[in-house]
Subunit: 429 residues, 4 copies
């Protein structure tokens, strides 16, 4: 069968949109594994053509920017996402270098930012200048785990408590669940299972170490396997949902802020007064004050549990898009507390990012511009040891958000000529 | 001067990265407005070349997917973002059609999704089938305003209260501030100013109608203009920050959930029992139950103020990237309450999206694949009347997130064979 | 019939416990209005006797401390609470005087504190000393309203929106609802109705001015009357609940913090450095720092929406019990933001209490020790003008919580010998 | 010296108010330990007399209801609270019996309620009837610990992390800290120390088992002792505050909801449909629906992290006052999730109380009416084994709040004639 025939059948509605890749591969390329990628490319083109016909428009950009995210594992083909028509492009800027003194990120780094936000790159440059003039930024990954929290149901709260206690004592049951959870995995390790009871139901929050992958998919699968073991011992356990929203995935939540998810990062810079004054034309005490008034008092009044910062989501979003992360996780990954305090004549400035969920392996990270953007920072693919590339990326993002909030707060403080009055105030005159 | 000369000077460090576009335009193209776009393209290429040299790698994808987001207003050139090197590509799928019975979105729509999330498109297709089989989804924009909340400081709380009272009484002061706020605008209207007092400081939350643009930039500028008028009457007013985080922009917050920001959307579908059973192999009562246990009780226990849903951020993110939105706003735009209840034998399913911040004009919406993606849905550029295109897009996104959460909850309910037991339960047997 | 006969019948189970007061009044005192109080006293005694018999114990304290909270309005007798057996006693201390420069509270005040918390009175004394040595504390009631938010249901979200819009435009419908709400009232005024939509339901938050009473009961009744008018115009309105928890009564919530409930109070003291040093042996900068680290950063990390203070609930509880307030409202009335900042060599210290719900009329305020405690502060009963006594009490409580948090933070700062190191730090040495 | 002389000197200002008890004891009673109590009584009377003079009023109630809360441990006298003048009385009602099937509370209980809230006792009676007609309520204490979270500071986040890791590994350091924490205690056991990092600071949340006392004071002292051990190993540790608000004490916070404080309670009742219909004139499905709409959806929209209930604070407050608890803790102790679901023709109704902080030993629990109220429920003083009395009280309070919310929700559901329409709805007609 020729490609044109499939195209014709598709346009006539005889081939369904969601089957197009497979039909082309089977009918035109006779399931040749080397042609899977090409089959996808054709399918996208034909599908887009139909869309153009239906809408009576041309979508040259979408077509031109097609990106190949297919995979062929053994003889199992995957499309990456379903019903592809091409690629969506976001403008990409480069910023840096910034000097990072991390455990995994050491040296001078350029950072790719995919964004439509004017001034973002420029702002980061100013923040980076403050960092570099201060000898670099310190970054630390303080926690690293991916969580999944299936929801199970018991006949009554007493039985639920019994099971929670059994899991919490970390005895035989826990070991069996751990074994089941790790059975299919090369990299993932089960670190803990934390039960949260609510009536006769338990949210079991599984904590996994997942190497350089973000880990959601494996955590889902492995926690599900562990639940099977739990059901063997307690047949009355009824699985209600793979997740009951205590993971928490793709929603802002305090459990992630308090107990972490993905990487938990700390950063700090020790910035001399003169550096702040030179770059931002403001006394550092103004930065300390505005951080309190805006990032803590203002945010508290606004009613937030995670947004104790000025605008770190800008950088998080730009780097997530650039490097092929799961962009729905911008929601919670942008949780951030900003710190600013004087130590003698130095401003100590830094951030706590409690739940930055990222990967350098899997998802969108392995192909196209995402792969290249990770290469710019030398943290593409699996790290050696496992997990070190993802942690490196985490430290780099930590450095970037710190620079961004420093720039914004200092710039806002300057904008309103606080400088003079506040020096007086801070010095008690 | 030749382009090669500028390139040489840049590589030798004689031209700064952030000046490259302007230098090429001035030196090579003698400020020819028609050449501004080309100057940018060259700058990106040269800048990328230097990055390739420094990293000893090739970034063909980034170069190939360069997107032109420059503008020339009169003779004022802008680069879109600073220090461009090219474009970042996210795989784009198409899903639909879905039948929407909105005020602005009426008819059958195809939706573009830029994502790396496998199963997202497929999931939406299932949700859309449920919608279409039920005669379509109803969508309503119930509120529409952009907010900016500058932080001002007074000598003491009493003075702050006096000013708050003066603004709240909507008299002469308010009218003058309104006039100042609207002075430079063609489209924007000031709807309200709401003061929030905290000690001797006021967060003044300005509410603007901003047509089809997202409106943050204009809201910032116009509220700043209004503050100047306020200072004329009350010279003791001291501007502390263009925003004190009560807007709230790019952070999850309850003020946005409660009082709205961007578009506030309501959607609902009336789905016959048989439709749910056919598509999801589950009784609709199971959907109602899991919505309670997961999206409300689980989310409450997790500590969220905005995440009363299963995973709407996936669709929000995919459509934001596809259509050139400000992706940092995924953080709060994904705030969502899901509704599921039985009405006789029908499942009523819908969502409340209190603060969806979107545009069809400005930012990244006007060029490249973003423009094309908006064209697919016939909501690119300014609407007639103003605001109608942005509202149309809001309704479409509302339809999509409804379909997605319906699919996920119903699928999870099915996955665990709740069906049988729960029919009994729901029917009281 | 003799009292002994009723007693006998009661002990034999022929008279129900909840009917005891009425039976005695009718049978023994032949409904003599002057004897209603005595009938209650006898009933409590007999009821307690039975409890003593059943438990084989003696409850002399409960008997001895019986308090008469009955009323007789015309010929309608009320018991105050049901099934009284006597009184519960909480130790009462006195603290003061404290100099208050409020609008309603002016002069030197002694405050009654009913508490079991050792050190509370002593701590307040230290705080009051700081206030008095600084010339007094400024207190302001910035908002004053009681809210009730009935939950109504419409057939679909569109209809719900229509009604919300109709109410919000403050036209004829609003005026009719206002008239109905105020019909039975001498004091209460309806200030506003704010609709909050969630799917096809509306939470209608009614705002009332309620004079010197706390106002919950009247707000419930009057909002219910207004809903009847709403149903006349929109017969499809279905009342779901007198409250849907958006009031919010007796739960900590952000809506109360943001939009107020009861009295919203601001207070501040301007305290010279030497005063702080003399009383607390600490530099004032340490107070500023600890307020940030504990009351904002610590509280934020703990996940609170209302608890940006050290321990104001202690004073709130002690004064609520002493003065006969509704003690369940300690929950939200203790919402508080503490402010501490340097102004030259002065510490400006104050609080924002967004939702302090109190009364000097009604509930437990009119009799017994509660009445006397209000008399100590000269704010018992209805004020002239109406509301002024309740506002006076609010200002006094505001002064007390300010003193308490100042004392605690300063004491904690001192306890850890921060003084020296931080002076250096704050002065940039 | 005669009492009249001391009185005279006091009224002349020669004896300070806060020294009055001691002066009388020393001068009049020559430090006779048996006279300490009497000295306090005289002091209160004289102090009150002075207050009467100053205010030109009489406070007979306060005087008459004086309660003796002094103690004499060996020869160390304490006043209970400072500057006593007498007692504050709250009307006390009795409700019950209610049948409780707990682990610690077994049998039929009468409950004392100190309240000014009309209808509270009556409401509980209706709720208790539903419980009793259903064979009783099941109550379980699922967790039991008191927490204190001192705030310590390190030179930088890396050092802070190192210490957090050292504590978390539960090795030698933890054992030494545990030993120090338990050194002075007979009953308290240190269960865990959980570090929460925020920049260069650690909030160390100590978890103690504290028997029948509420445990705050001992937890403060013992955690302070443990920090000293920590400082021996890490001299750079700087104590910033005995608490940094992560305990969290006397503020509503999510950390208490998620991780518990005091007793965590689960309760449930299995109530036949007919019982609900008989008592509340409503179908049980209406209770399920209103619980979702009000206690979850409404509360979520209101922005709460702890208030997923109708009005449990009423009962919490009434029982806290009656039994001499620390009433400032009503704030967080009233955190509550209400559960309502159908199981066949039964309504399963219950609550989760995550952080109920109570005692039967210490504070106000040991004397006066508080002691008597605990005696009514047979849970006064230390339990055997230790902790069992406090747990018994916790279960009783759990039963009461369950009854109260059941009554309120069912009554509200009935009030609006939902019954008919919703039976149809729930049964799919």
């Amino acid at each position: 069968m020729e490609l044109s025939d499939v195209r014709k059948e598709f346009l006539e509605g005889k081939v369904k949109s969601r089957e197009l890749e497979l039909v082309i591969w089977e009918k035109v390329f006779e399931k040749n594994p080397d042609k899977w990628s090409e089959a996808n490319s054709h399918a996208a083109s034909i599908r887009l053509e139909e869309l153009e016909n239906k809408t009576n428009r041309k979508f040259e950009g979408i077509r031109k920017n097609y990106v190949d995210n297919t995979t062929m594992r053994g003889d199992v083909p995957t499309t990456g996402i379903e019903q592809k028509v091409g690629g969506a492009v976001v403008p990409l800027g480069i910023v840096g270098p910034v000097k990072i003194n991390g455990k995994h990120a050491k040296g001078d780094f350029y950072l790719p930012l995919a964004t439509n936000e004017a001034a973002l790159v420029a702002g980061l440059n100013r923040g980076f200048k403050a960092i570099n003039d201060s000898g670099g930024i310190k970054t630390i990954v303080v926690k690293d785990h991916m969580t999944r929290a299936p929801l199970i149901e018991l006949p009554d709260p007493e039985k639920a408590r019994g099971i929670a206690n059994d899991i919490e004592k970390k005895g035989e049951l826990f070991q069996k669940m751990k074994k089941a959870a790790e059975f299919e995995s090369r990299v993932s390790k089960l670190l803990d299972i934390q039960p949260f009871q609510i009536g006769r139901r338990l949210h079991l929050r599984f904590y996994f170490q997942t190497g350089d992958s973000m880990g959601m998919n494996s955590a889902t699968k492995y926690s599900s396997n562990a639940i099977k073991v739990l059901k063997e011992k307690y047949p009355e356990v009824k699985m209600k949902s793979l997740t009951g929203n205590l993971c928490t995935d793709k929603k802002a939540s305090h459990i992630n802020v308090l107990l972490g998810r993905g990487k938990s990062i700390e950063t700090y810079i020790v910035i001399p007064r003169e550096t702040i004054k030179n770059i931002f034309k403001v006394e550092p005490e103004c930065v300390v004050e505005l951080n309190h008034l805006k990032n803590y008092q203002g945010s508290s009044l606004a009613g937030t549990l995670s947004g104790f910062n000025a605008n770190v989501a800008n950088t998080i979003a730009a780097m997530f898009i650039a490097t092929g992360q799961d962009c729905a996780q911008i929601t919670e990954s942008s949780s951030c507390f900003v710190h600013a305090e004087m130590d003698g004549d130095n401003l100590i400035f830094g951030v706590t990012l409690p739940c930055l969920e990222i990967a350098t392996v899997g998802g969108g990270t392995g192909f196209g511009t995402a792969r290249e953007c990770l290469e710019i920072m030398e943290c593409h693919g699996p790290g050696d040891p496992p997990g070190s590339n993802a942690r490196k990326l985490a430290e780099i993002i930590g450095a970037a958000v710190t620079a961004q909030d420093l720039n914004l707060i200092a710039t806002e403080a300057h904008a309103h000529e606080l400088a003079e009055s506040h020096i007086k105030l801070a010095r008690g005159k």
